[in-house]
């Protein structure tokens, strides 16, 4: 076993690679792990599980782990995607078991398979957002008003231009909006992919600006990652 986890000393040697796609959860306290820290977290997880990971070849070999879609800090999800390459073929359920045995609280691998689609097929994410307000405004009614505007203008931070106003009306596809106890529950589909991404926080911050309300509690969960034709990304 030990020999397998060595990266190749001889750089001329081409090591065969076996690609896997893992679908994982990031919930509870683990939702505060930043995207930047996730890479380091997983590289330690694989080391603990003694998984024979494949290293990029070259001057500065690095573990090959790839997250095609970033998840906003604080958002929960059971459908996150990670691609990884190994130097040997491992049984998928064994791989999953070994990794899950050494995962920190709130993180879990739900599925492992050979990648089918390519990252550029990702086009949409669906979110479920539950919130309640500090004030006793009728949150459902007020949020409906926000969504039914002719234009939904929100402030977006752009690297080049700083803060700019954008209209996201055509991007926001509301799947359902109702009450769940004291919470308002919103199900929404938003573009997320190479061409265009609208973060759920854009929609939710837009509401704050629109209404002047503050959230008392807000929980956001990504529920699906979809292709252009609304198939689940696999």
């Amino acid at each position: 076993m030990a020999a397998n986890i060595n990266r190749p000393r001889n750089m001329a040697l081409r090591v065969e690679r076996f690609d896997y796609r893992m679908i994982f959860s990031k919930t509870g306290r683990a939702r505060f792990i930043s995207h930047l820290d996730l890479m380091r977290t997983f590289s330690r997880i694989f080391k603990r599980a003694r998984i024979p990971v494949w290293y990029t070849q070259g001057f500065n070999p690095r573990l090959y782990i790839m997250f095609p879609l970033a998840l906003a800090l604080g958002t929960e999800s059971d459908v996150e995607i990670m691609d990884i390459s190994l130097t040997e073929e491992l049984d998928e359920s064994e791989l999953m078991e070994r990794v899950n045995a050494v995962m920190p609280e709130g993180m879990h691998i739900n599925k492992v398979y050979k990648p089918v689609m390519s990252h550029k097929d990702i086009a949409f994410s669906e979110y479920e957002i539950r919130f309640c307000l500090v004030s006793d405004t009728d949150a459902l009614k007020s949020f409906e008003e926000y969504l039914s505007q002719e234009q939904i203008i929100v402030k977006k931070h752009s690297k080049k231009k700083g803060e700019i106003d954008v209209d996201i009306k055509s991007d926001v596809q509301v799947l359902s909006l109702d009450k769940d106890g004291e919470f308002v529950r919103l199900s929404v589909r938003l573009p997320s992919g190479n061409d265009k991404t609208v973060n759920s926080s854009l929609v939710m911050d837009g509401y704050k600006a629109f209404s002047g309300e503050e959230y008392k509690l807000i929980y956001t969960t990504r529920t699906k990652i979809l292709t252009k034709s609304l198939e689940t990304f696999i």
Partner: protein, 617 residues
């Protein structure tokens, strides 16, 4: 809405929230209904620094190994999150349960540096625990403190109930067992403290009375209850090879200062540099066997998943089997694709074969803790390093392509003259010359020498505890002299800010009366003093003035050999007689051999497990 829900909401809007929520791999969660004693291990600095500290990792795992104890972690918060906590009425909490500090049975601080003292007050206050011990009436919480700075705990006696003197692995559990027993029978705080005072290594300051002479020095220091011993002897783990060491670490998500596995290879130091507190308070020198170190390295690497392991000690090369140790570890780390880093390693007497291996292990820049610029002054401080060693190591390194050299010095050492300051500049220039003398085809592209100076701070339990600190004006003059003498763009000088050194000297050598000044300074807003952007020396000066205390009395006064020091009731095993004789030898620029060359009779009995101690037993 409960605290936990609130915390999670607020974390959505702070910097690096993973530091404030716990849940890391290795963190210990227990069912609190089944716990007898809940212990909050507090590091009085921010997460990134505290999580790097080995002592905390050891004691955390040690306590949690006991089923009926639950030890959690708590750190100082940064200013932004502190404001968030205050604005939202959330008490400071521990990272495992997210329960507020005031709910714990025992709250323990580790004192690693003097400038963290005000953070203790901030953490207690944010955690809604009365800051002053006289305001804590119930059994819980008991506030304890340990770590190197408790060798003079007097400036903190108003805030801390119990100080733990020496090594904590045994005494922490004894104290918690006692607490558990007293709690079960509904005993009082007083009862607990009295019983605790009987445990070896436990110092309960309220059981001692202090009187002063007219000149402000201490007159007497006497116990006021029969249970309290006149001298409190530090605890030492004599069987160091079998001391508890954690088989797991808490592995953080965010990057921290030392983000790697760490294995302790030895404790204590054989060298006896006269300025170095660690070199005296951690005596005697004890080490772990190669097998033990290897198995600890292996289990930690496996549990953490770190790809780097480092050896911790005051001077790793003093391990009696250093070559065998490094070879064994390198075999393991090579096979597991883990890198081995070796701080505090002197490479004087290694074989070429081993040096070659180490090169592949880690190639970092060259670092020399020269401490003083001339051989005379290095003899005064008993720093055993010669100019020729430094230069020859540099020459070899330059031929191997190294291009950065870091040199560390102290300014204001006892007996220091301008010649010694000029010696610093000369040494740096000689190293520069050595680089230019290296054949062009061997040496690296461009050289960078950095010279760092810090102000000497005399510390208790060292032969220099009697010495005055140089005044700010003297240090300033010395720094300017050094700047004038360093005349190359290739040599970079960085100097340590001195006001913090003055405060450090006061806190290190202070007496009980200083506790009030610490309190006043904190009331004025002093906290995170070790961060230059938060350090306000004028507030500290005001606080000292308000208490009628003179900083110069503590920092800049030469003390007689027979003066009663504020820490003389503590016994760190090294005898006063030895410290005095070392001080005298320093003034004659005479060195003392290290323990390996022969025992110098510093007063430590061989029953404490020291490898070289020859004393009676």
């Amino acid at each position: 809405m409960n605290y936990k829900e609130k915390i999670e909401q607020l974390l959505l809007s702070v910097q690096k929230p993973a530091r404030y929520i716990g849940g890391e791999h290795g963190s210990v969660i227990k069912d609190k209904s089944k716990i007898d004693v809940r212990f909050a291990f507090c590091f009085p600095d921010v997460y990134d620094i505290g999580m790097s500290h080995l002592g905390m990792k050891i004691l955390y795992a040690l306590k949690n190994k006991r089923e009926n104890f639950w030890c959690e972690r708590c750190f100082m918060v940064e200013k932004d999150y502190k404001q968030v906590l205050i604005d939202n009425d959330i008490p400071l909490y521990c990272l495992e349960s997210l329960d507020p500090l005031y709910e714990f049975d025992m709250i323990g601080f580790t004192l690693q540096y003097e400038l963290s003292y005000t953070n203790i007050l901030s953490m207690l206050s944010l955690g809604r625990v009365p800051v002053l011990k006289k305001d804590r009436k119930d059994l819980a919480p008991i506030v304890v403190a340990g770590g190197p700075c408790v060798c003079n705990p007097e400036p903190l006696v108003d805030f801390i109930d119990i100080f733990i003197i020496g090594e904590g692995e045994e005494v922490n559990l004894e104290l918690m067992d006692l607490y558990s027993e007293v709690k079960k029978r509904n005993g009082t705080r007083q009862e607990f403290l009295r019983l605790a005072a009987k445990i070896e290594g436990i110092y309960v300051p309220e059981f001692y009375d202090v009187t002063y002479n007219d000149d402000g020095t201490l007159h007497s220091f006497t116990p006021n209850i029969p249970e309290a011993p006149a001298k409190i002897k530090k605890r030492v783990i004599a069987d160091f090879d079998n001391v508890y060491f954690p088989e797991y670490f808490v592995v953080p998500y965010t990057s921290i200062v030392h983000d790697r596995s760490v294995v302790e290879v030895l404790r204590g130091c054989i060298r006896g540099c006269r300025f170095c507190q660690a070199g005296f308070i951690y005596r005697p020198f004890r080490e772990k066997s190669v097998d033990k170190i290897k198995s600890e390295t292996k289990s930690l690497c496996e549990q953490t998943g770190y790809d780097e392991v480092s050896l911790s000690s005051l001077s790793t090369s003093d391990h009696t089997k250093i070559a065998e140790l490094l070879r064994t570890l390198a075999d393991y780390t090579d096979a597991e694709n883990v890198s081995l880093s070796l701080p505090s390693l002197r490479i004087d007497n290694f074989s070429d074969e081993l040096l070659e291996r180490l090169k592949t292990i880690r190639k970092s820049g060259l670092t020399f803790a020269c401490e003083a610029g001339t051989q005379r002054l290095r003899d005064v401080i008993n720093k055993n390093i010669t100019e020729e060693e430094i230069l020859s190591t540099c020459r070899t390194a330059f031929e191997g392509g190294y291009t950065t050299v870091k040199l560390y010095f102290m300014l204001g050492l006892p007996t220091e003259t301008d010649e010694d300051i000029e010696g610093i500049a000369q040494l740096a220039h000689k190293i520069l010359d050595a680089y230019f003398e290296t054949p062009r085809e061997l040496r690296g592209g461009s050289i960078q020498i950095s010279v760092s100076t810090a102000t000497f701070v005399p510390k208790p339990f060292t032969p220099f505890e009697f010495e005055p600190q140089a005044t700010a004006e003297e240090i300033d003059r010395k720094q300017k002299l050094l700047v004038r003498r360093l005349q190359s763009k290739k040599i970079k000088l960085s100097t340590h800010q001195d006001d913090t050194s003055i405060l450090e000297a006061c806190l290190a050598k202070g007496d009980r009366r200083m506790s009030k000044a610490v309190y006043n300074a904190w009331l004025k807003g002093c906290e995170l003093d070790s961060w230059s952007e938060h350090f306000h020396f004028e507030k500290w000066q005001e606080a000292f003035d308000e208490c009628g205390l003179d900083m110069a009395f503590y920092a800049n006064r030469k003390r007689d050999y027979d003066e009663l020091m504020p820490w003389d009731h503590l016994d760190y095993l090294v005898s006063k007689r030895f410290l005095i004789s070392e001080n005298k030898k320093a003034h004659e620029a005479r060195t003392t051999r290290n323990c390996k060359e022969g025992c110098s009779g510093c007063g430590i009995d061989k029953c404490y497990g020291g490898v070289y101690c020859g004393g009676k037993h």
